[in-house]
């Protein structure tokens, strides 16, 4: 498999995942804002913080309000954190590797991008937002399913798994970081709206239902943190994502050069005692995990995408 192609499929998966995640946090925040009384509402700023687009936002928008944030996150083609941008990038990458993608995947991705581009007004309207956002989420999920169902689970697919899971882990960490900052730990009893907010964190990651199944019906900080960081089975839990990265990596040649940094974050996530993390401690912990994730991404790039000198492949290896 060509290094350039590996790079592209990796980014297709990352951008698709990013589009889905961004669409989902917009949807959840819309509901959260409707559910919380005025004055207690977290508003729309946290979303800009989650995507890390603060400076970019300030450059292009005079005011931090719902309409601007929605435009910034959904439909602004020049905003590098928007859903439309992510879909455009996924499509552009797909265009350069059309030969390795199953044909239906390309058609579907093309359709999804065109839908997102042609229905910007729908996405910006309060009434149409739900439909637009759900269409994007379902579209990406459909693509993920098609890829799993129609693409041989060999190298190109492994690179997609890497991209998707690194992006997922990253988003889970960001959401936890931003949301928990406004949610102070209260031993024992829950303040009325704190509960709703932790629920919204779970919902941002489509994790609410699985959380209840695994952790019980009570939603509280420690259990949410445990579930989203350390669960080995939930697809968006950081631990689970790292395990998927590890499995996919082991299928690839020369993985010994990347594996150590995956082991590092895996161990770090597994052994942390979330009960002992105060808000500052949590923030610092997440910072470190994000840096470790970035290291994994960089190692993958160095070994597989941008290598200056390459060894001769052994003859048995096939694409």
């Amino acid at each position: 498999m060509l290094s350039r192609v590996a790079n592209s499929v990796y980014w297709i998966a990352r951008y698709l995942e990013r589009a889905e995640n961004t669409a989902r946090i917009v949807n959840v925040n819309t509901n959260l804002v409707l559910d919380t009384p005025k004055g207690m509402s977290p508003g729309w700023e946290p979303l800009v913080m989650i995507t890390g687009g603060h400076a970019l936002f300030a450059e292009h928008y005079p005011e931090l309000n719902e309409r601007n944030v929605i435009r910034f996150l959904l439909t602004d083609a020049t905003s590098t954190v928007s859903v439309l941008y992510a879909l455009a990038q996924a499509r552009e990458n797909a265009r350069t590797v059309r030969d390795v993608l199953p044909r239906e995947v390309w058609e579907e991705l093309n359709n999804l991008y065109q839908y997102a581009r042609d229905n910007v007004q729908l996405g910006l309207s309060k009434r149409g937002r739900y439909e637009y956002v759900m269409k994007v989420i379902r579209g990406v999920q459909q693509l993920t399913g098609m890829l799993g169902g129609t693409m041989s689970n060999n190298m190109p697919y492994d690179f997609m798994v890497l991209g998707r899971n690194l992006e997922r882990a990253d988003m889970t960490l960001r959401i936890l970081d931003v949301r928990s900052a406004s949610l102070l730990p209260h031993a024992g009893g829950l303040r009325p709206f704190e509960n709703i907010q932790w629920m919204s964190v779970l919902k941002s990651l489509s994790a609410y239902q699985m959380y209840i199944q695994h952790m019980g019906v009570r939603v509280h900080r420690q259990a949410v943190l445990q579930f989203l960081l350390q669960d080995r089975h939930f697809p968006r839990a950081v631990h689970r994502c790292v395990l998927r990265v590890e499995t996919a990596l082991r299928e690839l040649p020369r993985h010994q050069q990347v594996l150590p940094c995956v082991e590092k974050i895996k161990a770090s996530i597994a052994k942390v005692d979330v009960a002992n993390l105060d808000p500052q401690g949590l923030h610092a912990f997440i910072d470190v995990q994000e840096a470790m994730l970035a290291e994994v991404g960089k190692a993958i790039g160095d070994v597989y995408f941008y290598a200056e000198s390459l060894p001769l492949a052994s003859e048995e290896v096939t694409a």
């Binding site: 060509l2 290094s3 350069t96 059309r98 060894p311």
Partner: protein
Amino acid sequence: MAIRWSQYTHKGFHDELIGPRGRPWPAADHVAKYLRSLKDNEIDERRTAADLAIRAMGVTFTVYNQDGGAIDRAWPFDIIPRIIEKKEWTRIEEGLKQRVQALNLFIDDIYNEQRIIRDGIFPAELLETSTNYRPQCRHISPRFKVWAHICGSDLVRDKDGTMYVLEDNLRVPSGVSYMMENRLVMKRVFPELFEQVSIEPVDSYPSQLYDMLASLSPRPGDSPEIVVLTPGIYNSAYFEHAYLAQQMGAELVQGSDLVVGDDDKVYMRAVEGLRQVDVIYRRIDDLFLDPEAFNPESTLGVPGLMRAWKAGHVALANAPGAGMADDKVVYAFVPKMIRYYLDADPIIDNVPTYLCMNPKERSYVLANLDKLVVKPANESGGYGMLVGPHATVQEREKMGRLIRRNPRNYVAQPTLSLSTTPTLVGHGVEPRHVDLRPFILSGKTIQTTTGGLTRVALKKGSLVVNSSQGGGSKDTWIVDAEEK
């Protein structure tokens, strides 16, 4: 409204579907009846279905806008097929094979013994002034003595119904992917017609192409490493490059993906490490292929590629230098080549061509500029052409001066009345001019596509079938009219 053949007129032109007095040719009979039975809303439905299919399939070609950005346009497509009777096609097929065989023998001869020059059939001075002749290729003879492995020849039909070869594209001809996509669209839109009419399938092309390329591999073994070399996503034919790579299960590579080692072998940069490449189906022009051998500014190519090719470590299709027979002056010699190398008469004729380098023909051309089409020898896409009957006096005078200054660079041909075929306009049909580009594959054996790509000038009266200038395409059906 609907489609009424009795009102369809194509005066002065041969029509591909409808003969005299609105009566369809036998091979088109069933289709004509079927189309006549469609109500307006049914026509709309079919058209919408085709548009949707094309959009969803992402069939595009790239055009450039003024800001230098590239946009992908959906491929303009007309849903009424162009139909060729099988018996006629069989003859055309033989003619194309004959032609390409002679062309390959000619190219091999020119780069080696040059018998045809010694025997006085082909003038030596033409070689010296040929822009696509590559001295770097002298004394090389690729496997099977084949240089133009993939050839796209343009066929046109004149008003008396005769098919002519208008030109042979021996460099990097494109369009075959559209031929295949058109068929897919048609099967989605008119499934019932495919059940009722025996239409020859077109989908064996990718496997034929693969087999031909594999047969060129210099390394023994069952699974040679074949790649398609593309200039990248901004090339107007990128869609096709990706399509063919995908259909053949070959890697689609760009110049930067390949590297030539000190051992003069070609490798691609892969996740596993470097992998040796055996056959390159290159869709990059000669001059950009290797900055060491040709244009040093080229960033699309692979430094050292010519070295590897000359050493016999990699096969290139088409071979560098094959384009020398792509010259419009050389074209005029093809009938002579067929007689010289194959000792046979050409099955398909050339359009009569006057060579301005010959004084007698030149004076005829200069005296008849108002009736002729004048073409420069080495331009493609209609650049620098003069269509006599449509040109102004000044334009004709200017062309006369150009011809006198550099006679070798010009040929002239009579203005042809390109055939027409019914094309959907609103809810009815109108005649539009078409040509046909079949593709011919040469390796150990020679094969052709079934039919080819029919290009249609969608503008009324226009003769320009080029997709960037208002041209579109149609599915081409080879139909056996006798099998009922």
